[in-house]
């Protein structure tokens, strides 16, 4: 068990005196991110929903990136990945990242193809 904790977040921008303090700091940050997400989800600013980047609405990009940010801090600070050995951390993180990226790519591209078939093909389904 690693008893020594790395007590900095944001690449050393923010240093905490104890592990307990760091936990509360991370909580504040996660809450802040969630509040931003929910506020954007309720307001849905038109500038973000009516514009897109790489085929997806800017708003959805923001949601997904903020989610990954939250996931990073949950796993790094709550699950103590920050304190684990680099080899263990990489084995845990990169395995799912590659597999999920591949799976998401395949399913979404295929689904988009089927969407095209439904839209342009000779099948009536929306009646």
């Amino acid at each position: 068990m690693a008893h020594d904790h790395k007590l900095e977040i944001f690449r050393g921008l923010l240093k905490f005196k104890s592990n307990t303090q760091k936990i509360w700091g991370v909580l504040i940050f996660l809450t802040f991110v969630t509040i931003i997400e929910v506020a954007l989800g309720i307001i849905k600013p038109e500038s973000l929903t009516h514009s897109s980047f790489l085929g997806m609405k800017i708003l959805n990009w923001i949601f997904i990136i903020l989610t990954l940010v939250k996931a990073y801090y949950i796993s790094w600070d709550f699950m103590h990945l920050r304190d684990e050995k680099t080899s263990l951390r990489r084995a845990i993180v990169w395995t799912p990242v590659f597999l999920v990226a591949y799976l998401a790519f395949i399913t979404l591209v295929e689904a988009d193809y089927i969407y095209g078939v439904f839209k342009n093909g000779f099948v009536t389904w929306n009646f």
Binding site: M1, T20, T31, L66, A71, S75, F78, L99, V100, T107
Partner: protein
């Protein structure tokens, strides 16, 4: 073997004995499980993405589905889910504080933090049950067409959704709800909705201020991103295809739109809720062990750390479910 005892030199790190990854066997196995479980959840969410991309122009808008807060009337999209998210993050925090207290061998602090974690988990599961109940009971009611599509009703005066009860006519009909207490030979039967298709159609014709909202999402123009509103004549033509009245959602019918949406909602949040429930149970077991002093005698609180990993994982999954089900 005795000859391969790790000496700390580079060559012998993987030679047996010692922990090359700096984590105990139990923790490594927990990570194995969590990674594979993460892949299971990714599979479910990817399947959700598949169905959603397939029906990207007709998928229900989550904001319009989950609009309720317990004890409050009115339209509050997102607030309750945000509250649930916060509860889960909060219980994650108390869990990590319990782990921290365990490192310092503070038994009473561990007990209290574990207790708070369990309470947080219970509140979350309760909230989820309430969400399910609300979703299943339904809101406004809708008509399902022969093609399996959903037609919802809107009041053109206010621009708000109209309940079936607001405009449907009551017409005498012979069919009554069968109940087991009334029939000797009764086994089962389809429950009747509050209104028949004929009553809804007649009510629609009698109320000129009601129109239909289809599943299709407007792709361009001012109303982009909203569901399509039909004119009265288009709506009347659509109603010729009406096949049944749908109230609420289950695995077969869904008044909110695509039935796949309901299926995935039940499956994914159900699977996650099952994880939370089992997490609460495991936390309870460890909690009692802490109270009994098991880990005090053992000399370390690593068990708390291991269930802590599981608990944080449940929180981590929820962060993704929250995004892909409610936000995006």
């Amino acid at each position: 073997m005795d000859s391969t005892v790790a000496t700390g030199s580079e060559e012998n790190v993987w030679g047996g004995a010692g922990n090359p990854l700096g984590a105990s066997y139990g923790k490594l196995m927990m990570w194995f499980f969590l990674v594979s479980d993460a892949l299971t959840f990714s599979g479910l969410l990817a399947a959700y993405g598949f169905s959603r991309f397939k029906f990207i122009e007709t998928w229900p808008i989550a904001d319009e589905v989950f609009t309720h807060v317990p004890f409050f009337h009115g339209n509050y999209p997102m607030y309750y889910v945000a509250f649930m998210t916060f509860i889960l993050i909060m219980s994650s925090v108390t869990m990590v504080l319990a782990v921290d207290a365990g490192h310092k061998m503070k038994k009473n602090a561990v007990i209290w933090y574990m207790f708070l974690t369990i309470i947080g988990g219970a509140i979350f599961v309760g909230s989820q049950a309430w969400e399910w109940a609300t979703f299943i009971r339904g809101d406004y009611g809708a008509i399902e067409t022969k093609g399996g599509r959903i037609l919802q009703f809107v009041n053109t005066d206010t621009g708000e959704r109209a309940r079936l009860a607001d405009f449907a006519k009551t017409m005498p009909s012979e069919r009554v709800n069968h109940e087991s207490k009334n029939g000797v030979w009764f086994y089962k039967g389809e429950a009747l909705p509050s209104f028949s298709v004929n009553e809804v159609v007649a009510g629609f014709k009698a109320n000129p201020n009601i129109t239909i909202r289809t599943e299709s999402i407007v792709q361009e123009g001012e109303a982009q991103g909203e569901k399509t509103l039909l004119s009265r004549s288009e709506a009347l033509a659509k109603l010729k295809n009406a096949s049944e009245v749908v109230e609420g959602a289950n695995l077969i019918h869904n008044e909110y739109g695509s039935r796949l949406f309901a299926d995935f909602f039940f499956f994914i949040t159900g699977f996650h809720g099952f994880h939370v429930t089992s997490g609460v149970v495991i936390n309870l077991i460890i909690f009692f062990n802490v109270v009994l002093g098991t880990y005090e005698k053992r000399g370390h609180y690593e068990m708390v750390e291991k269930v802590g990993l599981y608990w944080h994982f449940v929180d981590l999954v929820w962060v993704f479910v929250f995004t892909f089900f409610y936000l995006v």
